[in-house]
Amino acid sequence: MKGPVMHITDTIIMEDRILLGHGSGGRQMHELIRDYFLKYFGNEHSQSMGDSAILPAISGKIAMTTDSFVVDPVFFPGGDIGKLAVCGTVNDLAVAGAEPKYLTAGFIIEEGFPVSDLVKILKSMRKEADLAGIKIVAGDTKVVDKGKCDKIFINTAGVGYVDEKYASLTSGSLVAPGDVVILNGNLADHGMAIMAARSALNFRSSIESDCSSLNGIIKLLLSVTRGIKFMRDPTRGGLASVLCEVSSGRNWGIEVEEEKIPVSPETRGLCEMLGFDPVYVANEGKFLMIIEKDEADIALRTLKDHPMGVNAAAIGRVTPGHPGRVLMQTAIGGKRILDMLAGEQLPRIC
């Protein structure tokens, strides 16, 4: 690289902050893209820096998703906003039965954001994308005035291809009484890791976010069983919201057993301290599936043999009774309705 380029790069490193100029469309932005974004995201589809990534044709149906990431704090135990952006997008594709292929990422960065943090986020995105086997093919950066956004926001789009035979996985239209509800592991780790990481509440915990890409484990499952009828990742709103969504308006209901829902002791402790119910807390590396009864065992065995499914459990079943509703058999054998959460759970003392 020649003089002026080095100069600008040096300036960035010296000041170590994203400036409004980095989103101006001028040379500063150009350098930012080339020296950071392309450096970490670069692949055969993104080198051209054209206005569009030109991609090879995909065979099969196309699955497409979009998501925005505004997590606070940006870095948290078990991940960061970049890893989360990749995992979240990959998982939305994977639970639809799709094979994730391409990802785009738009960044809205608050003026003054440390460049070193941006680099950490970009590296983390690349690492996760490589793990998940998805390519980051296009990106965009805007820098906004201090206070106009909270540090950094990422918006993504994801594209994958999906086999025709998985077309009903998203809606769960084939689900029927007798089917089994399976979860791939401990609930509520992401939400509680974020809660504990928010410094204002003064807790210290070793809870780590479960943030991870699920396409590998889902692909494996789909290859060993054809009995899966529904999949969804219980992110915001948690397990309860997914169960309520899928059963709403159906002529069947769902009954889950509180005792079977896996939650780590530490996460449970923090939930109880703040008055949270783990079934409403966000997850970023979990998926819920509804599967034919006869196939449940093989699915469960496959999950338990996989690092992302060690704590997998069959947590409930689809019932002909109480259509459209989710019932929870409580740990002591009582029954109660599981409803969607009205608003965000807040630390409560009463």
Binding site: A196, N202, F203, R204, S205, S206, I207, P265, E266, T267, R268, G269, L270, E272, M273, G275, R348, I349, C350
Partner: protein
Amino acid sequence: MCLSIPAEVIEVNGDMARVSIGGTIYDASLQLVENIKPGDYILLHTGFAIEKLDREEALSTLELFRELDELERPPDPDQQ
């Protein structure tokens, strides 16, 4: 206003105690209680220990069932 939960005292520093709730660590105030030592369980409410939990009483509450149980009917295999 009742959300108070048991927490285990890890260490005591003056009128503060480091407590653990299933592994989550919190620095709780001991201003409302007396004679707290590591290993004790306290009832934590809004950042304050409001009472030391009495182990003997807890055991005897639980014991009450078992004794009554044994008197009144054969042992329940689930309880083993």
